[in-house]
């Protein structure tokens, strides 16, 4: 079992998301925000500015004209998309070269983050449901707890793996059984510590147990990320040591009314987007010690 102080001390070691990205997430939800407000936050951050311009001009967004300035980028992309790109630009550099415990390289973790972001959005389109605010960003950050809990998973790795491989437990249940906490709970704590919007913490906390989502949270958002996460793992988009030891909640399937064919269409139509977007950023430059 990990003492709660142990987790909290890891949080202090964790690099934080750039303040600009966090402020943009807030601005994007405020209907009084303008492109000028965005510009004021972005321009002082050279790394964010460079990443934003590169991504805006990438094939993923398929813009007809080239954005040369932050103002143009924000105008062409829209405020919501800009804040999503900023979240991606902020997350990529803080992923460690290798995630301890989960036995995955930065590139693999990053692919998974981007895959869940893109698949969650695509799923909402396929189902014809409203697209909740922050779908992309919540999908992108759903596993952020793995950055903080990895060292503890590594210490108890054989015990966790024997529960999944011999005991038939899901990886997240095995984490909880052995460590007393799992990456989804820790992820919510990380999101709160980083002062991210509450929806991000909610998705992190319930993405493996969508049925427990309380009424005050956006259950549709949690359901979408839950399915997208399972689909990404099924397709091998970011495989970790937990492999396919995970479950899909039948209640989520029923709520979303999703069919096998729909799921396959989502997969086929998202793959290239995931690749091209993941390619725009180079993860693993820094990260936890």
């Amino acid at each position: 079992m990990i003492a709660p102080e142990g987790i909290l001390s890891r949080l202090k070691d964790l690099p934080t998301l750039s303040a600009a990205a966090v402020r943009l997430a807030g601005l994007a939800r405020d209907e009084r925000s303008s492109a000028a407000d965005f510009e004021k936050v972005i321009r002082p951050d050279p790394a964010l500015t460079a990443n934003l311009l590169r991504v805006v001009n990438s094939a993923y967004f398929g813009l007809r004209c080239r954005a040369e300035s932050v103002r143009q980028a924000v105008t062409l992309l829209g405020l919501r998309r800009t804040s999503e790109v900023a979240a991606a630009a902020a997350l990529a550099p803080i992923i460690p070269r290798r995630l301890p415990g989960y036995e995955m390289e930065a590139s693999s973790f990053w692919t998974h983050c981007v895959a869940v972001a893109v698949l969650s959005e695509r799923l909402s389109t396929e189902l014809g449901v409203r697209r909740p605010d922050l779908t992309f960003t919540a999908g992108l950050l759903h596993d952020v707890g793995k950055l903080a809990i990895g060292v503890f998973v590594a210490d108890s790795s054989s015990e966790i793996l024997s529960r999944t491989r011999e005991g038939g437990m899901t990886f997240v249940s095995a984490e909880r059984a052995v460590l007393g906490v799992d990456h989804s709970q820790v992820g919510a704590t990380v999101a709160e510590a980083w002062k991210l919007p509450p929806a991000i913490a909610d998705v992190s906390r319930w993405h493996h147990s969508p049925n427990e989502t309380p009424d005050k949270a956006d259950r549709l958002l949690v359901d979408l990320v839950h399915v997208a996460d399972a689909l990404a793992h099924s397709l091998g988009l970011g495989a970790d040591v937990g492999e396919m030891a995970r479950k899909v909640d039948p209640a989520t399937e029923a709520r979303l009314g999703i069919r096998a064919r729909g799921l396959e269409r989502v997969a086929s139509e998202s793959l290239e987007e995931i690749r091209s977007l993941a390619h725009e950023f180079a993860p693993g430059a820094g990260g936890t010690r």
Binding site: L235, G236, L237, M244, A245, K247, R265, A267, S268, L271
Partner: protein
């Protein structure tokens, strides 16, 4: 020895005996490994979904995404390298599933079913396979020797 990596929805062929063709993170996707010990050539596809009717547009640009459009291209590629059908040794890996996977997420099972159907129709015999379960697999084929390996959960087996 140089490694040629096959991405998801992709295929690679080689007649260079020093090459090894590899694919990573096979979950519900399936890799078909083909080698010809006579011509000394090999090929591998890593397809993601069973049927191209799911997304005909994608099938045009990425035929290796689907079993029905991709597998025939793999065999045609081998024939172009001078291989003959009767010399080909065909092996299969992947097709895994999440836990409790009976319904919408049984992509692996559907991937395997369509493969068996296609091979049965065209009289292709599977020499060896490692499919199903909730494993993630890495598959390799050594062009020179025709040796095929599958590694998963820290263990490597010869296929």
């Amino acid at each position: 020895m140089s490694a040629i990596t096959v991405d998801i929805s992709d295929m690679k062929l080689s007649a260079n005996p020093d090459d090894v063709i590899v694919t990573y993170a096979l979950g519900s996707c399936i890799a078909v490994l083909v080698c010809d010990p006579v011509r000394v050539a090999a090929g591998m596809i890593h397809y993601m979904l069973p049927l191209s009717e799911t997304s005909p547009e994608k099938a045009k640009t990425k035929p290796a995404m689907f079993a029905d459009t991709g597998i025939p291209l793999l065999f045609q590629g081998m024939y172009k390298l001078g291989c003959r059908k009767q010399d080909l040794v065909v092996k299969v890996a992947g097709g895994g599933a999440l836990y409790d996977d009976k319904g919408i997420f049984s992509i692996g099972k559907r991937n395997y079913t369509i493969l068996r159907k296609m091979f049965w129709k065209s009289s292709v015999i599977i020499a060896a396979e490692d499919v199903g379960g909730s494993k993630s697999r890495t598959a390799r084929i050594y062009v020179g020797s025709g040796r095929c390996t599958v590694s998963s959960q820290g263990q490597e087996i010869d296929l």
